[in-house]
Amino acid sequence: MPATPAIEARRLVKRFGATTAVDAISFAVEAGSVVALLGGNGAGKTTTIGMIMGLTRPSEGEVRVLGTDMARDRYRALGRMNFESPYVDMPHRLTVRQNLRVFGQLYAVARVERRIEALAEDLALTAFLDRPAGSLSAGQKTRVALAKALINDPEVLLLDEPTASLDPDTADWVRGRLEAFRRARGATILLASHNMAEVERLCGRVLMLKQGRIVDDGSPHELIARYGRTSLEEVFLDVARAPAEGGGQ
């Protein structure tokens, strides 16, 4: 009997008035895998992630996370997952330690102070644990947001452009930490990104979205071979410039 997917979307639709942002997409993400939602602006990546978290209500279809129907019973799953996005902040006036303490308590993390120390060491936060979150640089804020996303040691981690606005060195460092976390925890990661280097490095599978539909699905190497290109960026451009209904070559 096949294992339950960590994330499963079935004919997921989201309409905003007359606009269909996500158009009947279905996919399953195996436990322990890293999968990217890759697409241009308005492709439906963030809306899809919002529906997976239960933050956005689908117009049609169903989302299951760790076997839980998110429309009916999302609180069963929310404690086992987490999310990070540069577009969602943490309270600026609270120190990093205070923020992590609050989220640790919200997620009922046992021995939260020890967990904070471990995350601080792992993500190099120790030097600014007692500084207000609002006083940090973009790179430091991303590391703090990542610490918040890892505070409950999630089985499912959702990331929306996790390295946006970071310099290449910091972005590379963050990717390294994500890889290390996935290996150590066996966690499932679903990542929305525009960043081809990030997707190629982290993800075993890519779902290519365009105008709310999955237009292709495969590993970065498979996609590059399928489109006869040399990089994922070229594949992305092919998909972005092809007519809406077109998928493959």
């Binding site: 989201k14 905003f16 942002a21 963030t46 809306t47 919002g50 978290m53 239960g54 933050l55 956005t56 209500r57 609180y75 069963r76 929310l78 404690g79 086992r80 997952m81 987490n82 999310f83 996005s85 577009y87 969602v88 902040d89 943490m90 309270p91 600026h92 006036r93 609270l94 120190t95 205070q98 303490r101 609050v102 989220f103 308590q105 919200l106 997620y107 009922a108 993390v109 046992a110 207000p132 918040k148 409950n152 040691d153």
Partner: protein, 275 residues
């Protein structure tokens, strides 16, 4: 690690801790809680002293004496209503201002726990703001709010319940419509004020407005206050009627909050809140 469970006092405590950290981080925020109630109480207190003096000197009794005798009490109870609502709504809006709302809504925090934390903060902010001011009222003008005894319990309970019902509806509207609706938090109670008969009896209103006035729980409280201060009567009947209306308002406020939260989920606006 996280049992699904139901209501969690731990999660309520986490959110209360977050607001207390915030309060502690900024002395102007703390000072602001006391500043306006104190300034208003002093202004109205001196006015009350003046009216009383004039009424006494000219031998006037009745309406002037009633007005002169209840100004400070009315003001303190009005501030209880206003500050409690503000404490609820502002704590909620802190999440919008800091763009933290999505982090909370994807955590295991239930709406009922969120609301319980906001209610707790409303009481804490109210205590910080008003307890010192009641002391000032006694010191400057000899008005002892605590001397109202059992009546004060009824007044306080009813005003706080009304403030929470309004806070729930306002927070729901901000959740659904974004920070464009935040002005409601400061203004909505001032719309209620003329009909709640804070500083004058219900009889001062035209007959058709009296019907509206009696649909508002604060009206019962301010009538009760006048009965207690002027007539030395405890009007338990007024408090019971106010409580009955408040229970309906709380149910409506809670339903509105949940409905508007659901509507925000449908609109897909929660991920971009505060931007």
């Amino acid at each position: 690690m996280t049992p699904p469970g139901g209501f969690s006092p731990g999660r309520v405590g986490a959110l209360v801790r977050r607001y207390l950290y915030l309060m502690r981080s900024s002395w102007p925020r703390l000072a602001e809680l006391v500043y306006w109630p104190a300034v208003q109480m002093l202004t109205w207190g001196f006015l009350q002293t003046y009216i009383r003096g004039q009424a006494g000197a000219s031998g006037v009794s009745g309406a002037m004496a009633v007005a002169g005798g209840t100004l400070i009490g009315s003001l303190l109870l009005w501030d209880t209503l206003f500050r409690s609502q503000l404490g609820f709504s502002v704590s909620f809006m802190e999440e919008m201002w800091s763009r933290n709302i999505a982090n909370l809504l994807i955590s295991p925090l239930r709406p009922i726990e969120f609301v319980a934390a906001l209610m707790t903060m409303s009481l804490i902010r109210l205590a910080i703001g008003l307890v010192p001011v009641t002391g000032l009222a006694f010191w400057f003008f000899g008005f002892n709010l605590w001397g109202l005894g059992l009546a004060l319990v009824g007044f306080f309970l009813n005003l706080v319940l009304t403030s929470w019902a309004i806070g729930l509806a306002v927070s729901g509207l901000v959740l659904r419509n974004g920070l464009g609706a935040e002005g409601l938090a400061w203004s909505v109670l001032f719309f209620v004020m003329p009909f709640a008969c804070v500083y004058y009896p219900v009889a001062a209103l035209p007959a058709w407005l009296q019907t509206i006035a009696w649909s508002l729980p604060p009206t019962y409280v301010f009538e009760g206050l006048r009965a207690a201060v002027v007539g030395h009567q405890l009007r338990a009947d007024l408090m019971a009627e106010a409580l009955a209306i408040n229970l309906v308002l709380m149910a409506l406020g809670g339903a509105a909050f949940l409905k508007l939260l659901d509507s925000a989920r449908k609109a897909g606006s929660l991920l971009s809140m505060g931007e």
